[in-house]
Point group: C2
Chain length 269, copies 2
Amino acid sequence: MDSEKEYLSNYDLGDYDRPSVTADVAAFMVSNEDKTGYRRNPGNKLRLLLVKRGVHPFKDKWALPGGFLRKGETVEECALREIRDETGVLPVSIMYVGVFSEPGRDPRGWVISNAYVSVITEESVKQAGDDASDAQWFSVNFDKCGEEHHLTLSYEDIVLKAVLTEEKPGFGRTKFGIVDSGDIAFDHASVIAAALTALRSKAKDFKTVLDFLPEKFTLTALQKVQETVMDVSLLPANFRRMVSGYVAATDEFVRGDGHRPARLYKRKA
Amino acid sequence: MDSEKEYLSNYDLGDYDRPSVTADVAAFMVSNEDKTGYRRNPGNKLRLLLVKRGVHPFKDKWALPGGFLRKGETVEECALREIRDETGVLPVSIMYVGVFSEPGRDPRGWVISNAYVSVITEESVKQAGDDASDAQWFSVNFDKCGEEHHLTLSYEDIVLKAVLTEEKPGFGRTKFGIVDSGDIAFDHASVIAAALTALRSKAKDFKTVLDFLPEKFTLTALQKVQETVMDVSLLPANFRRMVSGYVAATDEFVRGDGHRPARLYKRKA
DNA sequence: TCAAAAGTGTTGAGTCTACACCCATGT
DNA sequence: ACATGGGTGTAGACTCAACACTTTTGA
């Protein structure tokens, strides 16, 4: 058959040079920090999962969890597999960020990376247990100082400080150029910046914010999460009204905090 | 040196099976159709560039322009190269849509595709000339009928009708499943739907709409473009006020249309 | 003169922000 | 008693859709 012959002769994909493809995941969590005052509410911290590389290149540097795409799976399935292998939990939600294909971004050769943002609840991380000491949740700070963006990731005495520049490639999309990678492996400082920017943009929608929280939660907890992720400050009165369409009240309360008990809410159907 | 040895021995990318990577571009244009009435403004049509495949698979079917990623270029550079080769013009803007990696989406083997949306002015297309008869601008209709989405692409007597379902993969992102590909090659019906959805979402921003227009334009032309892209109807009075922050008036006017001359505007600095 | 489109003004409905205020609790 | 957070009410600012209206032209 002519069509079959031509198909096989003209479209042997083996003729072409092919890149390696990876999925890298920026997995975020909002952690309750210890109370500071004797009846103050706990502060929250935005945390990001990094793994210490055990092999070259970038041996002993910190990197986003990720790995090579396997035949028979989608890029998203690859991302989910990688994050499950690192944390033992399946993320509540996962969102595509973009593709990173600049030549030379990986010293091993021609590697293009697909970045994802993932949101994980603190609860499920605690349940899964923290077996691997080469995977840690770093607290995140990302601020704009003039033209430069400063990304600071810290875990105990480890502090990674990256300096980035914002590049507007014509369309709405924002890319980040690396001025100083701050000892973060590959171009992952740039990937983290893009992922966090995408997450902050999505976190204007309460549905995204709800993915950070367990089944039942107080409205103040919800507010603190949005404030932490987006790095803003909100008035409680207005926050409650805005969120009211997304949550349903339960008849349970949280007592014992030295003030009026807070009602627990859950996601609306 | 130990690190160098380990580097080379452990990270030979040739050990792994690798996919072929492509960039496909949904290039949109807004065309001025012939006037209907004797002093009516022209209607606009949203058009999409498709190319007729000359080889198997999907020989003689219509597909998005695109091609394989080459070593040493980014995915975006690949997309720009492909669209330039098909149209002879460089798009005003190009936006990343997403990655398509479902196994089996390409009968030639393991191929993952990166989709882009691109916006091209009618002017520049006319200048470049329409040499290749295997590349044509199809008018686009994309409507939601109950649960189904109908994508209709037509050029002269050629009509491609695809039927799609909307899949919400948890996050805000929308994916489209193919019920009937309507003789569109590969999974490009799904890619087109995703690209158009992304474009419509971006077209709420006037900066995106301005990319469809030449340097100087009337506010009514601008309004028609937004209405065409987003498939909505707007009140002129309100549109003018909303857009006023994005445009600057010139002292030129368009005369000879049987009504009051319209002032020409340009993009604001 | 008249239809068509260009362009301006205004009104009322709704939304958002900031603030004032009361409630309930554990120490 | 009182600090603390939970929770409600509301006045003023602001935004926006709808509509009324005037202007300018070519046929």
